[in-house]
Structures are given as structure tokens and as C-alpha cells.
Symmetry: C2
Subunit: 329 residues, 2 copies
DNA sequence: TTGTAAGCGTTATCAG
DNA sequence: CTGATAACGCTTACAA
């Protein structure tokens, strides 16, 4: 790799001058600029970001920490972040935390060691020193914490909507699937659903799950219909579980939505391709990712901006696993 | 952030000594080591990877370039790469190329600018200077090129298997979905299927698609049944398209697999949760990711290893969108 | 308008 | 066993 020295020598100028033309800083004569530019071209020179980063104590790198890219909700988030960052010439160091506090801490640490200028994190522990003492801007994505910068959707409201719509469509033997207790968003959804159901005086059962994994989703679906065979409505903690429930219901010969209605959460891309297509509470994942990146970039330019907490809308996305409301509402 | 100087001062030694204890290189007296270690702990010191990287001209970073993390096949790959890398203390800079040569080149360039020690890339243009002149090890993932290090599955064989199994199960009005012409793996699958069908003297139709996107998949599925309504067997270019085809077939009132059989490709996590569950040609994505990372790490340690091309098995994964072979075979 | 040189935080060489 | 110090490739005062 050619260095700035090589370019300087090749162009017959000093490194300072080369630096000036690269960064468009300070005066440089048109002719020398030309010389330098040809030298750069001829040597295929590109600046070493590491050296830059060392001197300026900041890079063009940001850290992105997500629970598990294998859960289809997160790639959407990631893609949004990446697209926005890419357009602003930032690159991403990426890690999966598996919702594990230790892995999370490790990653954040290496992010810092690599001089990232900011981090976007989807974490259940935003209130730890890991983030508090980070010294660089952090945006919490899909999660939130007191007054810290964050982009998230209102899971509680989503849960409420799901419960309300399901009740409006006539289900009275509802089973709510409670996601992993350690995951904040899962808890919110659950709480929202429970609140709504309670306030409407509708009884319900609960199935507790401990992960969002594809392989285990089927197990819980089975458990659900074994323990509560009369279930005529399922509020799932996300679309993966909802898909498993749908699969199991169909396998048991139940008609969906006639015998049992199902509402998921997230609206992952495959949901609309299921048969019947999944009714769900949509989170605008891609936009959330983009928004979080945009927010981080703002924070990078100006630490003190007003609008640091962005709540995205959660929308009832009616498809085919729920009945038409006219029939019942 | 504390620097090595701070630690040295705090411990009353020179920076050289601190460096020695950090890197466990050279002699250092037990007592001084202790002093240094406490200093490190008290100051919460962690080495600046950027400075290290600058001096050593190599980092603990690798670049990962994937077409689109939003396609459920790639997160599996990415996860495999990440887990293996993480266990070996490497971090990942990540980018989506969208199969776009320009974006790809840009990303690779910034990878290099950030001193990555190696790259893992899923690209359709492995034979360009971008990779040839990179100067650091590259492993091609899910793609391959002459004799360059790579980890991939035999798409052609997969296509053959799909065609063979479908024919063995009685379909005679087969439509093959040809994926984007620019994507090598899609082409291989298609070729394999066509070869097999031709050699068996079975006529078939072709639907050409131009992307793997969820939103467009539905369009092609519609087109398929409009143009070839008598289709009784579909060999799809991947599971996303297969899912869309299944969805459309069901919507049209066709029975699957009785009226039309469907075989996908990849075996993404959701495939087994569809109803009927999708029969597909499985690629061991996660393992491929891990293998590519392991290979890259080997290459990093020793440029000249023998086994640089790893072909992973492709397996016919029989589920419910194909008929039982006994009935027809 | 341009060049010199210090400094970013490390590692490694070479004396001591 | 330990300490100075040059070097990694860049940016930025400061001088010229």
C-alpha cells in the first residue's frame, strides 16, 4: 500500500501538502494540487484510516450491537442502520450479543478499543456503566432508557392493540404467549396485552417461553394446544412464534381464523407469505434502523439536540389469521 | 481513556515494561508484573487497538461482505462467521453489496483502509483486481473461483437433485424458476435442474426472475401460474420464491403437493414452519459461515495450506410440498 | 502557498 | 530484567 510519503515523493511536495489536498484544508496552489492528484491516482493511494483514526482519536466506524441477526426482525434493523451509515461514509463493526450481558460488554469494549465514534445497541441493560461511562454517543435501538437517545416502537401499545383487536373479533379463550422474561420488548408487549384483556374483563391463559429461536418455537406451540386445547385466540410474542403456532394449529386440523385467531408481532418479511397470511402488529424495522443511524450522526455533530427519543408507530396489520371485524365487532 | 503511559506512570515503570506484561513478551519480574497489573486494573486500561494496528500494520478486524443480510440465508452465514471469529478474538466490519460491483469495491476498499487482516466475501466477481490485488487473504463464501480459497455448496448438484426428486415423484409439467442471471449460485442451480430434466427427456418451462426480494417474489409466483397454469411441479431458485409460489398456489385453490409439488433451495429457518412444510435443497449455511471463518484464520497463520476449497454437502430435505416417492417412484 | 516537525498510542530494538 | 527511543501513517501548528 502506498503511503502519504510515497505520494509526496512522487509529486515532489511535502506530506503536509498532500494531506491538504486530500482533506481540502488550507491553501494549495492549483498546479500543485494537480500534481498531487495525479500522483495519488498513479499510486492508487488511499489514506490509511487507522493512522487518521489514531491521530484524531476518532474513526469513521460505529459499533452495532444486536441480539441475534438470525432473528428476521434484526436484519431489517441492521439494514436500515447500514444504509444510512453507508450514505454518510461510516462503516459498521458488528456483533451479536445473544442477550448475554457478558458478550455485550466484551463487544462494546472492543468497539471502543477500535475508536468507534458511536454505538447503536439493542440491549436489555441500557442502565449499566457499560453505556453510562462510554464517553461516546450511544443510541438505543428497539429499546429505550430514561432520557437516553433511543429509537423504539411502543411495545406496550402494540400489545394493547393486539388484545383489543382480537377481542373485537370474538375470541374469548385467549392464550397470550409471554416471551423471554429478560427481554424488555417482549415484556412490554405481554404487559400491554394483559392490561387490555384485564380491563375488558376477558380471561386468558399464559404460556411462558424462554427464547425466540425457530427450533424451540414449535415446542411452545405444541405445549400451548396441549395445555389449553380450547384456545380460540393466540397473541404471540413475535412472528416467529406466531408462525409456529399457526403451523401447529393447522396440523391439529384447526381452521384459522375460524377456530383460532392468531396475531403476531414485528411483521417480518415472511409473514405476508404465509397461508393464511399472518395478522400482526407491525414495527417499521428498517425505518427504525435508519432513524437510529440518523440520530447517532446528529449526536456526533452536536451532542445537545432536543429530539433524542424517537418513538415509532406500531400498526395493526390485518391479514388472514384474524376474522373480519364486521362479523363480530 | 487511559493510555499505556498512564499505566506506566501509575505503576512507576516504563511503557516498554507495561507493553511486555500486556503482550506476555520478554522477561518481566514477578513483582513488577504485579504492580503493572494492578495499575491496569485500577485505571481500567485496555490497549488502543488502533495504535496497535498502526504499528503492526494489521488489526484484529476482518471484513465481511454479503449481498443482502435481509435475505434469510445470509444471516445464517453471517452468524457462523461471527461465532467463529468471536471465539478467535476477531471482530467484523460488515457491509451489504446488493450484488452491486461498485458498492462492493467501495466496501472492500474501506476494509483495507481499516487494516482488516482478511476478508470473507460472497461475490459474483471474484476474478476482479479488487480481490486479486488485495494483498490479504480472501475467502469466498457461497461462491467460488478457480483455485482461490472458498467455501460453498454445489448448487449445480442441488439443482440436479431437485429435478430428479421432483421427476421421481411424478411431476411432468415442471416449471423451473431461474433466479437473477447475474447471481452465480442462482445460475448453477438452474443449470443443474435443466441438465437433469433434459437428460431425462422431461419438458419444462422457465420463469426468469431478477431478484430474491420478498416483495417481488409474489409477482413472479403470480406470473408463473398465469403463464403456465398446468404446472404440476415448481423448482424454485430459493426458499423465498418457493414460499411465494406455495402461497400463490394455495390462493388459487391448488392442492400442494397433490396438484403441484414445490421444491425450494437453501432451507432457511422458516421453511419447516410453513404449512405444508417446504421440501427444499438444504445448504448448511451456518456451518458454511463457520468453515469460511476457520479457513480464513488458517490462511492468516499460514498462507500455504492445502485444503483451501471446501465444498459443503447439499441435501434433499423432504417435507410436505412433495409427494411420497413410493407412490410414484 | 508550502515545508518541518510534533504527536496520536502502541510495539520492538537495542543498550544498559 | 528494564528503559529510551524509533517507527507505524497521518494531521496540524508553526515557520518560512
Amino acid at each position: 500500500m502506498a503511503t502519504i510519503r510515497d505520494v509526496a515523493k512522487h509529486a515532489g511536495v511535502s506530506v503536509a501538502t498532500v494531506s491538504r489536498v486530500i482533506n481540502e484544508t488550507g491553501y494549495v496552489h492549483e498546479d500543485t494540487r494537480k500534481k498531487v492528484e495525479t500522483a495519488i491516482r498513479e499510486l492508487h493511494y488511499t489514506p490509511n484510516e487507522v493512522a487518521r483514526s489514531l491521530y484524531k482519536r476518532k474513526s469513521r466506524l460505529i459499533g452495532l450491537l444486536l441480539p441475534d441477526i438470525t432473528n428476521p426482525f434484526f436484519p431489517e434493523l441492521a439494514r436500515g442502520v447500514e444504509d444510512e451509515m453507508q450514505e454518510n461514509d461510516f462503516r459498521i463493526i458488528f456483533g451479536n450479543s445473544d442477550e448475554n450481558a457478558n458478550k455485550e460488554k466484551e463487544y462494546i469494549q472492543t468497539f471502543v478499543q477500535n475508536n468507534v465514534v458511536g454505538v447503536i445497541a439493542s440491549t436489555n441493560h441500557p442502565d449499566t456503566d457499560t453505556y453510562r461511562k462510554l464517553g461516546i454517543p450511544v443510541v438505543f435501538l428497539d429499546r429505550t432508557a430514561d432520557n437516553r437517545p433511543s429509537v423504539y416502537a411502543d411495545g406496550r401499545e402494540g400489545g394493547r392493540i393486539a388484545a383489543h383487536e382480537m377481542a373485537a373479533r370474538g375470541s374469548r379463550q385467549i392464550t397470550v404467549i409471554q416471551g423471554p422474561a429478560s427481554i424488555r420488548t417482549a415484556l412490554d408487549r405481554y404487559q400491554g396485552a394483559v392490561d387490555m384483556l384485564s380491563s375488558q374483563g376477558i380471561a386468558f391463559n399464559v404460556i411462558q417461553t424462554t427464547s425466540f429461536s425457530f427450533t424451540e418455537a414449535g415446542i411452545w406451540a405444541k405445549e400451548l394446544f396441549e395445555r389449553y386445547p380450547d384456545t380460540d385466540g393466540v397473541i404471540a410474542s413475535n412472528d416467529i412464534v406466531a408462525t409456529a403456532v399457526l403451523h401447529e394449529a393447522l396440523r391439529l386440523g384447526k381452521k384459522v381464523p375460524e377456530d383460532v385467531q392468531i396475531i403476531g408481532f414485528d411483521d417480518i418479511p415472511l409473514s405476508s407469505l404465509l397461508t393464511p397470511a399472518l395478522t400482526t402488529i407491525r414495527q417499521p424495522a428498517y425505518d427504525m434502523g435508519r432513524a437510529s443511524a440518523a440520530l447517532l450522526i446528529q449526536l456526533l455533530e452536536n451532542e445537545n439536540i432536543d429530539h433524542r427519543i424517537i418513538q415509532m408507530p406500531v400498526t395493526f396489520t390485518e391479514r388472514e389469521t384474524t376474522r373480519k371485524v364486521e362479523q363480530y365487532g
